[in-house]
């Protein structure tokens, strides 16, 4: 008898779920909104005047745990914008097939040149599609939407001296979010600008979370 009662209970659970709306997100047609810290692929950025930000310092190549970044430095030359001598990259290859998305390369980038993308990933048809060279990285800057994280923001969020007055070191980097040009999912992705509270750990830390004692 107990079997029948328990079975009725189980059927009750399934009936309740039967009446709930489906949770399936019909993936290729509908793309769920990604949170602003979401990151997949990569892009290299230009600064406001239009110069390449990457100085070829090799920090990202050195820190990558799966060794997917290969950089060939170009000889130092004068920047067309500022006129100062600085480094450039000749080749920047990023092998997405082995990337684990740990975001360490973004964190160590001293010029905030390397960012990850918030545009939902697209599967590739061949492995070559997953190897990003310098041209595609710069193209990604224009085509895709950048993720929230940049090197300075990540460093700032982890800063142990939160609350202490900070010295403004350098001008803020270029807004890492060019307007999404070809993303077909603009309807489901919120605006590119990161929420102000999340971007400022100092603010987040000083104003207590809701319900804090």
């Amino acid at each position: 008898m107990g079997y029948f009662v328990d079975t009725l209970n189980s059927i009750g659970a399934t009936v309740r779920n039967f009446l709930r709306p489906p949770v399936t997100v019909n993936y290729p047609a509908v793309i769920r909104p990604r949170p602003e810290r979401y990151h997949t692929s990569f892009a290299l950025l230009h600064d406001a005047p239009g110069d390449e930000l990457c100085i070829g310092c090799l920090a990202c190549e050195r820190i990558c745990p799966s060794f997917v970044i290969e950089i060939k430095q170009a000889p130092k030359r004068e920047s067309p914008v500022t006129g100062k001598k600085r480094g450039y990259v000749e080749a920047f290859t990023l092998n997405l097939t082995a990337c684990i998305g740990c975001e360490l390369c973004v964190q160590v980038c001293p010029t905030d040149a390397l960012v990850m993308l918030r545009t939902p990933e697209k599967p590739a048809f061949c492995r070559e599609d997953l190897i990003l060279d310098v041209k595609r990285l710069y193209a990604n800057e224009k085509e895709k939407q950048a993720a929230w994280a940049t090197g300075s923001r990540l460093i700032e969020m982890q800063d142990p001296n939160v609350g202490q007055p900070k010295v403004e070191k350098k001008p803020a980097p270029v807004a890492a979010a060019p307007a999404p040009a070809v993303t077909p999912v603009a309807a489901s992705t919120p605006a590119a600008a990161p929420a102000p509270v999340a971007a400022e750990p100092a603010a987040a830390a000083s104003e207590p979370i809701k319900g804090a004692s």
């Binding site: 740990c102 982890q158 142990p160 830390a205």
Partner: protein, 395 residues
Amino acid sequence: MEVTTPVRTLPYRKLELYEPEGDMLTLQLGPQHPSTHGVLRIKLHLDGEKIIKAVPYPGYLHRGVEKLCEQLTYVQMIPIVDKDDYIAPMHNEQALVMAFEKLLKIEVPRRGQWLRSLLSELQRVASHIFWLGTMSLDLGGALGGGSTNFIYCLRERELILDLFEELTGSRFHYNTHCIGGNRHDIPAGWAAKVHDAVNLIRARLPEYEAMSCNHRLFIERMRGVGVLTGALALELGITGPNLRASGVDHDLRRDAPYDAYREIPVNVQTAKEGDCLARTHVRLAEMRESLRLIDLLIDGMPTGPINSSRPAKQANQIKIPSGQAYASLESPRGELGTFVVAGNGEANTSPYRLKIRPPSLHALAALPYLLVGHNVSDAVAILGSLDPIMGEVDR
């Protein structure tokens, strides 16, 4: 690959060549089997359907993570170990980082500690709820009630993964622990979402129980099956819910408190029977306890920095001269420990030896004792109830 003698020439067709053990069946359960939770091979010697001997052969998922870590710097290691226990990556990271912090004598700031505990508890709920789903799948089949419960459980696990995604930007390779604290601070509005998710899971838990462990069919499959005695569990080094279900009251969160558990007491859930049903009950009770802790942790989250040391700007930033340390924490599967012998060469940027103590490996050691005498269906139930994760076993 060379193929050996075609089976047709084997002597089994001739009656006089039958061996005395001819009615014994040697069955390989795994590595390519739907319910070995990854790639585990268990060699079963069957008499009819009764198991008379069982030998587990782990190692099919060996990726050499420990050896790899000897080549990597301390900063690089953290995202790599995410893949060990692929159901609960948070704990892998934290166990590793805790060992390094112990060597460096770094104290995590209070907010960092609470954040770590919060993430740990969320991950524990996600892991246990995933376990409930796979357990149902083992008992009920992919084309049956098992898969229904599996999908319900995964649906709720998604809520927690969504929270992690919002916090760290990824659903699996979080890389959110770093030496000295955390990398990601809580974004705006996250706390309310945590509360929502916790309340939803708490409200829906009775439904899963009605589908699984409150149902007599499920109970009949689990009760008295795979009884693990407390003495044997201690001898084999089994920890976590498997040990607590055998009547041994041991939980690192209470017995060797770390992080926020020093301030928040944990109610340790135990059961006496030591069978599959007891393990189920312990895990479900732990899930409820974790949900309670999450509410406490998110409400009482202190302010301040989340990290006590300089964030990594270069690969070789952290140098540990020499020395050794062992740090462990209570992962959803038991005591997950890291033993590190620091000091490799001149640079001191990578360890000389790193050893991860996975709780699942010790749980697997109980299989030869537990399986004997049961039949093939029970083998699946016992294996499932021990909750081994092969990535962690083989590393």
